[in-house]
């Protein structure tokens, strides 16, 4: 297995390099110069030319790339055009909020999605199954922003059960336990909206996996042994069906980050997605590119982890 993991790690090296190159190309294509971002806009004119020299804006492309990578590795993504905010700091401030949201959605997807899939498969072709199938299809088919708006309309505006946006009630000035409950209260709707598509995919995937496995020879063996249905489903079928679900762990990360863009902007959730949307409106290319690079790296790491997890849970790879 050490071999498998090291091989997997080796394969990610060209990928991470590719990610940075692609990011760099996109940046070079965008208006303005990426390296110009590194110049603190508040400095005066004489220093500007010095900075340009120091940053090597006149260097050949590959040198520029290496210098840019050097900055990025140190966490320096440059400054925003408007004001002289460090992009790295801006993102860092927002990262925890996005992590709270995506992690909740991530957990919700599997905690809800897997049981739905299992029930659908076990009760195949019953009303419950049709209901779950239809619901998951709607879940995959509904535009997330539309679902978000609907949820706000119904639960926040019509019923008033949940807040329509934001992460905390600043005016109330909660502290301690109440503060966390307040965040949780704000979290419910965005987490639901963000996870819906993923819940649907996970349950569809689990169901079809489960159905395939219930047709396997070893399930027939288990039946021939006179095991009770519970043992057949949970001990023999589910263990096999859940192994490939691990791969969805990795796949759902980019999905959730994409979703966070929309969800955060609809719910005014102060995360990276919302930052990104503002950046689009303000044409802050530096922020967009930094977000791109960071999320791509996170996704790569997520895929790596889920592949390794796969090797751990599947004895056929483990040995």
């Amino acid at each position: 297995m050490v071999k498998y993991i090291s091989k997997r790690l080796l394969v990610s090296i060209p990928v991470i390099i590719g990610i940075t190159i692609l990011s760099f190309i996109i940046m070079k294509l965008s208006p303005g110069d990426p390296l110009a971002n590194f110049i603190n806009p508040s400095i005066n004119m004489e220093d500007l030319e010095k900075s340009r020299q120091a940053l090597g804006l006149n260097d050949p492309l590959h040198i520029q790339y290496v210098k840019w990578i050097g900055q990025v590795i140190r966490g320096n993504f440059g400054y925003t055009y408007s004001g002289n905010h460090s992009i790295g700091n801006l993102i860092l401030e927002r990262l925890p909020n996005t992590v709270i949201l995506t992690l909740s959605a991530f957990i919700l997807s599997f905690v809800v999605g897997i049981p739905l899939g299992v029930i659908g498969a076990v009760r195949k072709n019953t009303r419950i199954d049709y209901g779950i199938t239809l619901m998951s299809l709607v879940g995959v088919a509904i535009p997330s922003f539309f679902f978000g708006l609907l949820v706000i309309y119904v639960f926040a505006l019509l019923l008033g059960i949940f807040p329509s946006g934001g992460m905390e009630n600043i005016r109330a000035g909660f502290t301690g336990f109440a503060y966390y409950m307040d965040i949780l209260h704000h979290l419910v709707l965005p987490a639901l909206v963000l996870s819906l598509g993923n819940i649907a995919s996970v349950s569809r995937f689990t169901r079809s996996n489960m159905l395939d496995i219930l047709k396997e020879d070893y399930i027939r063996t288990a039946k021939a042994k006179g095991l009770r249905n519970k043992a057949i489903i949970y001990r023999h079928a589910l263990r096999n069906a859940l192994i490939p679900v691990v791969t969805i762990f990795g796949l759902s990360i980019p999905f959730l980050f994409s979703g966070a863009y929309i969800t955060e902007s609809i719910f005014n959730w102060p995360g990276m997605g919302q930052l990104g949307i503002r950046a689009i409106q303000d044409r802050e290319y530096g922020i967009i590119m930094a977000l791109n690079l960071i999320t791509a790296t996170l996704v790569l790491a997520g895929n790596l982890v889920s592949d390794i997890l796969y090797a751990i849970v599947d004895p056929r790879i483990r040995h």
Binding site: L137, G259, Y261, M289, N292
Partner: protein, 290 residues
């Protein structure tokens, strides 16, 4: 059907026809296509025609549904119903063109990767790894912010971002089919690689590609809608179901004028759902296990 008499497609067609959801989905999808084609006939007004409050030089903004404006008017006093009909054209155009791009790229790369293997395979699969590491929306946004947004850029962006799943699928199918005896047999009777790919491999992996095209269309519709909603997709005044929902980000519109944002949202949901029904139906119909 366009395929000559061959039991595989015959069986698949019969199975598909027995699947109620799939048939309903097909009809809904066809109805949408029809509406898109004849939108100019059905629409009472031009999509970007502004209406004024009678006798005044003021836009008739946010008018409630009436006989005159079936679904009311939007923030600029345009007829929502007409925009909805024309929006169908934009949606179809974008989704279908993008899917053609992604299917062509994905199929070629998948075939080459799977059939020739070795360096080409490693090379293309790393590219796929790189592309899928970027969340789709991020890449789309990057592409459409760099270029001046236009429908063609949106099509190109969606096409360039979504070929990866087709490529992976085709590659996997090629790897599976390649090992079958009839490919080895074709090799043994001296057929060239091109002939083997075109005559032996492609016809036998067409079914999953067709499913992927269907699902891909649905996903392209969702991507276009999201982009347009975020303001980096199809631009005003061209109507798109996504950009018609932009107004709903204003609390006032969201709370008090559901006629502006619910219809475009619902039609998107309905069309995507219908296409998914078709896709699932095709998948089940093609599945030899059933």
């Amino acid at each position: 059907m366009l395929i000559k008499k061959n039991s595989f497609y015959d069986y698949a067609y019969r199975r598909f026809r027995r699947n109620k959801l799939a048939v309903i989905g097909t009809f809904i999808t066809l109805a949408f296509v029809l509406v898109a084609l004849v939108a100019p006939v059905l629409a009472p007004y031009e999509p970007s025609e502004f209406f004024f409050i009678e006798g005044q030089n003021v836009y008739n903004k946010y008018a409630s549904p009436s006989m005159e404006h079936l679904l009311g008017t939007d923030s600029l006093g345009r007829d929502v119903f007409s925009r909805l009909l024309y929006g169908a054209r934009v949606t179809m155009l974008v989704a279908l063109s993008a899917v053609i791009i992604s299917t062509v790229i994905g199929t070629i790369i998948g075939l080459v990767s799977g059939y020739f293997g070795k360096f080409l395979d490693a090379f293309f699969m790393r590219i796929v790894d790189i592309v899928i590491s970027f969340p789709v929306l991020f890449l789309l946004i990057s592409i459409s912010t760099i270029m001046d947004p236009s429908i063609w850029i949106v099509i190109l962006a969606i096409g360039l971002v979504s070929w990866t799943s087709t490529a992976r699928l085709v590659r996997g199918e090629v790897l599976r089919v390649k090992e079958l005896d009839y490919i080895v047999a074709a090799n043994a009777c001296g057929s060239s690689s091109l002939k083997i790919i075109v005559k032996h491999i492609l016809p036998n992996i067409l079914a999953p590609i067709m499913v992927q095209v269907t699902i891909g269309t649905a996903q392209a519709i969702l991507m276009e809608a999201s982009l347009s909603f975020l303001g980096v997709g199809v631009q005003q005044p061209t109507p798109s179901w996504g950009n018609m929902l932009m107004d709903a980000q204003k609390l006032l519109v969201l709370r008090d004028m559901p006629w502006i944002w619910i219809p475009p949202g619902m039609v998107t949901l309905l069309l995507v759902l219908a296409i998914y029904f078709v896709g699932d139906g095709l998948r089940d119909a093609f599945d030899p296990k059933q």
